[in-house]
Symmetry: C2
Subunit: 462 residues, 2 copies
């Protein structure tokens, strides 16, 4: 399939500038200040699908941000690939840590990306990876090599838990009918070693509020005599892990799937350097659950992390105050078989239980999703592996990711089809962080690899 290489070489400047335009729109779904930008991005995605060659594209309203649906049905008897992606992005703060503005994309060379990388919020997660599919589709249309039907479902609420996607999928079973779901919203080991994500962690995200006195108090007059909500919240958070960093919520581990030593040995084969890992993060040491190594802690084990905490005086200088309230955002990454709603309930019950007298505690679930494991003997996995092998020259390695794409489990339940996670990003691309970027190499390699997936998926489906 030499033509795709030529096509990419011929059009890459245009591909990049089109993506850059998309990245300029600050589609931050978590912050209502950007709501118009999120809607504008949906329009831009619709237009790009029309130009790429969809017969039919529509913006489907939901209770939240719309879902962009597009399709090209060439023959109902042929297989159908459903491409999922999202056009919303994470908040960009802390802004001061960006070396260039998050929504003013620039191309810079890095050690890992000698050909340059596009620096912008969403460049990798997920606008850049989503757009690879649009351009790969454009190629197949232009070269008349599209071997099957395609459907696109690009949503705008992935970064806030895909809260309205479930209803949409439930109500559109027929429209979304497919033989395989293809998603590029994950990473690979390196630009020399592709990998396919076969496992994802589930997620339960909650916000907690601890209230003490009905107003802020002078810490001199009241200090030591009333429960300080910040001290209490700290104590409650601290108690959620024991001295071995096991999570102390009763029942939390009950359904956790324990991997066999063989499986763990298999995992350990993936190339990994703890020294480089620590060096990349300027850490003097790693930290985590006793009895597991780093690559297990962030993939096959459930975790609990505070994502944000605030309370009291956080301004310049000193204020001797006891705050009336303290807050924290807490997320738990879950492994297959842990049900996120059950875990959310267990957390809530436990957190209310451990509140001392003198404070009142409120727990507000934000969102969540189930974990997922995909079998490596499926047609989809084999097709993806053949595609990677052809463009990278080496077969892909199956890996468990610590990330969560809650909707993958939803798709399997509602649409009865498997999802293939063909990721082209790198862990070092700093998604969800300042200076997120996506390698030009990765972007173009994705466009080059995706049509091969279609080709082999159809061949193997015969």
């Amino acid at each position: 399939m030499e033509d795709i290489k030529l096509y990419v070489t011929k059009h890459k400047e245009r591909f990049i500038s089109e993506l850059i335009e998309l990245l300029k729109i600050p589609s931050v779904s978590a912050d209502t200040a950007f709501s118009q930008d999120v809607l504008d991005t949906a329009d831009a995605v619709k237009t790009s699908l029309e130009h790429a060659g969809c017969d039919f594209v529509e913006i489907c309203d939901t209770a939240g941000y719309p879902i962009v649906y597009g399709e090209k049905i060439i023959d109902p008897k042929l297989p159908t690939v459903l491409v999922y992606g999202h056009y919303d992005v994470q908040p960009a703060d802390p802004l001061e840590l960006w070396t260039s503005p998050p929504f003013e994309p620039v191309i810079k060379k890095t050690d890992i990306h000698p050909e340059g990388a596009i620096f912008a919020r969403g460049s990798c997660d997920d606008k850049g990876q989503m757009y690879m599919h649009v351009k790969a589709f454009e190629y197949m249309i232009q070269s008349n090599t599209l071997p099957c039907n395609v459907k696109f479902m690009i949503e705008g609420e992935e970064e806030v838990g895909s809260v309205n996607l479930k209803t949409f999928v439930e109500n559109n079973n027929e429209k979304l009918k497919n033989d395989v779901i293809l998603i590029s919203d994950t990473g690979m080991i390196s630009n020399q070693q592709p990998s396919i994500t076969t496992g994802l962690r589930g997620l339960s995200y909650v916000e907690v509020e601890v209230t003490g006195p009905n107003r802020d108090l002078h810490s001199g007059l009241y200090g030591g005599a009333v429960a300080n909500p910040i001290n209490v919240l700290s104590k409650m958070i601290a108690s959620l892990h024991d001295e071995n960093n096991h999570i102390t919520i009763p029942g939390f581990y009950d359904k956790v799937e324990e991997l066999s030593l063989e499986e763990r040995a298999e995992m350990a084969k993936a190339p990994f350097s703890l020294d480089n890992y620590k060096k990349a993060l300027d850490l003097n040491d790693v930290y985590g659950e006793k009895g597991y190594v780093t690559n297990e802690r962030n993939s096959i084990r459930p975790t609990l992390d505070v994502n944000g905490i605030w309370g009291g005086y956080t301004g310049e200088g000193a204020k001797t105050v006891i705050a009336s309230k303290a807050f924290a955002k807490i997320s738990m990454r879950l492994v297959p078989n842990q049900d996120w709603e059950e875990i959310t309930a267990l957390f809530t019950k436990h957190f209310l239980n451990i509140a001392p007298a003198g404070v009142t505690v409120k727990v507000t679930p934000h969102h969540g999703g189930q974990g997922y494991v995909t079998p490596i003997d499926s047609i989809g996995y084999k097709a993806a592996n053949k595609a990677y092998t052809e463009t990278f020259g080496v077969p892909a390695i199956p890996v468990r990711s610590g990330g969560s794409i809650p909707i993958v489990a939803l798709f399997e339940k509602e649409l009865k089809s498997k999802t293939i996670l063909m990721g082209f990003g790198l862990d070092s691309d700093a998604i969800h962080s300042p200076n997120e970027h996506f390698g030009i190499f990765n972007f173009l390699k994705g466009i080059e690899t995706i049509p091969l997936f279609y080709k082999y998926f159809v061949e193997l489906s015969k």
Copy 2:
């Protein structure tokens, strides 16, 4: 001394409107955004002292905000009273909890203040109480009843630890020479029961910073594999108290003065209703060090409170991030004999010691001050008590306050004179909180009582 009552009645409207003008200037010393306002307030204080009748007033520059000095020397052979106060105020946030803007003073009636109270940041702490002295002085000048020399030292950095006052006092021993120091920056039990603060707690205020990875990380890809600075900070803060709410810093209690059962029994005589205390704060229970009651916990016992904490994503919605850094502002209230610099060193050493591998910790001392106890058999105390007894009809009760006025210990050391804390505020005045206010009754009663202190102090000094 009936004239003072008449004088107050005749001029109270003017006194109140003058104070309101002073309260309109947002002299927040902790926030450089207000630096010009702080300087403007110093000018306003200078003018008020000149109008009240000082022979000499000057604005003394320091490395920080200036100190306003004024004096009226009628006869070097007569005793000299040094009045201390501060013209800076606490930050006003959280602004949304104020029922009227903090720097737009309004008079509102409350259950405790049926004659009305002035609602504004600084109304009680300390502009309102400081201004009572200016108006009492004005009366003594106008009625030609000033019985001794007066010196005023009004600073602008009390709310940020009086960082430059020490040098000023050290360099101006002669200028500040006095026989007694008079301060109104504390409270009394109630408008029916005056009290004199005989003990103050010391203070050590520090800021801590916990750094994990060199950038914010995706909690899915890294969660559970690296130390999360917020979780770690919470664990470190939690460990600073044991299950009995004793502070765990080694050596922290070594120099704490333990009161005898007799002294504690004496303290217990002060009128106090735990039910009303809890009701006023909407608390289902109090909380604190085992083995001590509420009025001991907030006065004779040292404490450790987190005054502010922040880290990670604190905006709207959810962000699955592991923050690179987490911060907290922590203050310790100290009792007599605990040296604040020694305690700060003990805290710093301990906090660095308990940092786990995987994070780096920084401790930055903000400021501090020593505790203080004043003897109730001094001439100053007796004079104050006679003054209160005459204007309130009942003698004052000596009480230990949990608050800190670090400079009181400094004055005794440098100026070799005792400080009398004649407070006219109430605990319910919400100093350092939203809706700070100061009763009209208290303001005028202070102006009425202060000249009597001068009278009796000079008589008893003969």
